[in-house]
């Protein structure tokens, strides 16, 4: 099977064709947001970082902004800088333009304030949109797809149906030569030994155990034991017996293929197959990790019905809870049912999800794209704000 996508100079393929408006610091966020409101087909990625942070967090934010800018769904990028922030706008611009896509910048303090920056930024964004609009989709093999995988607002149906069904769709894509990335390091606690067994090498297996241990220690340093008390009383009442079972339900969405590599938050994975990116489970930071990892489409499993998408990556929301689907139709793109009909319904559900990925990649809009529900985004950091 194939899909329709926009060819990019670095050989990747975008499933959307936006001009990305990216502030380098929280203080430039409003101007970026206003430009994106002003110029159609431009879209802003908003965040709260970029200044007064530890050196390692500033490096993390810099590489994340570069990786986001390089996401194939962006035809070009306009960076909005305040001027005095710790992040170097030129370093971010240089990093993105290495992919060959056009990058422009506007610096608020240099140009004379908020209103001149809005005027100049809108002018630049307008030019970029006109240029991007001349691009056309062409037929591309499914091996050119990389999908991100996430679950949130989960319930019993997530681990039993929607996660395993998504896992089956991930397996299908990887069999066709495509790629997939998942994060949510916290979710694999208790089943990290099983993930590690799926690593392509002992070194990758060691890295999986390392990122889980590191995440636990960070929480422990703040007095939170993430392993203790798992599964919770409520989980046990609901039928979950062990922490392995709970975590397996979560990681089932990653399918069963070998894990090729483990990446730090904000890095750009290379190659095909299944990857892990170290990231927390919370949506604003977790979805950003997947977009930074170059995912063109994200599959999001939800039992209770999370509402959000991501500014420039379509997020396909999938539930196996029919009540949620009926009650929250503008949160959910696909409702799957593994309990009805004859034959192998889990496999059928995976096939349905896979086909939805290709349709969405070719241009079909997700609910979150139609509602425009994607401004609560952020970048994960590990240190204090100074």
């Amino acid at each position: 099977m194939s899909f329709l996508a926009y060819p990019r100079p670095d050989g990747s393929f975008g499933v959307r064709n936006y001009v990305g408006i990216i502030p380098t610091v929280a203080c430039a966020g409003d101007v970026a947001h206003w430009i994106s409101n002003q110029i159609r087909s431009s879209v802003a990625f908003l965040h709260q970082q970029g200044c007064c942070q530890t050196k390692s967090d500033l490096e993390l934010v810099t590489r994340t902004l570069i990786s986001l800018g390089r996401n194939p769904n962006l035809a070009s990028v306009l960076l909005v800088s305040l001027g005095c922030e710790s992040i170097s706008v030129d370093q971010v611009a240089e990093g993105i333009s290495q992919s060959g896509k056009p990058v422009e910048k506007v610096v608020i303090q240099k140009i004379g304030g908020v209103n001149p920056a809005l005027a100049e930024g809108s002018r630049l964004a307008r030019q970029l949109v006109v240029e991007a609009s001349a691009l056309r989709r062409s037929k591309v093999e499914e091996s050119e797809l990389r999908i991100g995988i996430k679950c949130g607002a989960s319930d019993t149906t997530s681990g039993l149906a929607s996660n395993p069904a998504i896992g089956g769709a991930v397996d299908l894509l990887i069999e066709k030569g495509g790629g997939a990335v998942f994060g949510e390091t916290t979710e694999s606690i208790g089943a990290e030994h099983i993930l590690a067994q799926r690593a392509v090498s002992p070194e990758v297996g060691r890295r999986i155990l390392e990122i889980v241990d590191r995440m636990e220690k960070r929480a422990m340093a703040m007095g939170t034991d993430m392993r203790g008390g798992q599964p919770t009383k409520g989980n046990i009442a609901g039928g979950l017996t062990t922490i392995e079972e709970k975590s397996l339900g979560a990681i089932a969405k990653g399918g069963t293929k070998p894990i090729q590599a483990v990446y730090e938050y904000g890095e750009s994975p290379q190659g095909k197959g299944l990857f892990i990116m170290d990231s927390p489970g919370r949506e604003p930071e977790a979805l950003t990790a997947l977009a930074a990892a170059g995912a063109q489409v994200i599959l999001f499993s939800t039992g209770l019905g999370a509402p959000q998408g991501f500014p420039f990556v379509p997020v396909i929301k999938i539930t196996a809870n029919p009540i949620t689907y009926q009650h929250l139709p503008d949160h959910i793109d696909l409702c799957i049912d593994i309990t009805s009909g004859a034959g192998h319904s889990l496999r059928k559900a995976s096939q349905t999800i896979y086909e939805e990925v290709l349709k969405t990649a070719s241009g079909k809009k997700t609910m979150a794209e139609t509602t425009g529900y994607f401004t609560a985004t952020d970048i994960y950091t590990t240190g204090p704000v100074i």
């Binding site: 019993t156 039993l160 149906a161 395993p164 208790g190 089943a191 030994h193 099983i194 034991d225 392993r227 203790g228 008390g229 798992q230 599964p231 919770t232 046990i236 609901g238 039928g239 979950l240 017996t241 062990t242 922490i243 392995e244 079972e245 397996l248 339900g249 089932a252 593994i338 309990t339 009805s340 009909g341 004859a342 192998h344 319904s345 889990l346």
Partner: protein, 100 residues
């Protein structure tokens, strides 16, 4: 036909109820290519598990095709499988991290 319980992987020795099921209920199941019917020895609530065949004390409980814990007593076929007869091998809320 509507399934009332699911077997997530053909290797599993437990099934999970997707509806509240009474004692003696005849439940149709599908494991991989195979379809079969079992009769429950106990009521099983939605989200809870029951055994598909005899499981020895100390043997692995398999779900998602992976080990989710170890039986702490001999488990008969179609019996409720939960915290009363299974223990985690990774970590448990009622044990400190050092003990597991």
């Amino acid at each position: 036909m509507r399934l009332e319980a699911v077997v997530l992987n053909a290797r599993d020795n437990v099934a999970t109820a997707v509806a509240n099921l009474g004692k003696g209920a005849k439940v149709e199941l599908r494991a991989g290519e195979k379809t079969f019917t079992v009769e429950l020895k106990a009521p099983i609530s939605l989200g809870h598990k029951f055994s598909l065949h005899h499981i020895d004390n100390g043997s692995a409980i398999i779900q998602y095709g992976e080990v989710i814990g170890i039986a702490t007593k001999s488990i008969k076929p179609e019996e409720h499988v939960h915290v009363h007869n299974v223990v985690s091998i990774r970590g448990r809320g009622n044990l400190s991290k050092e003990e597991v």
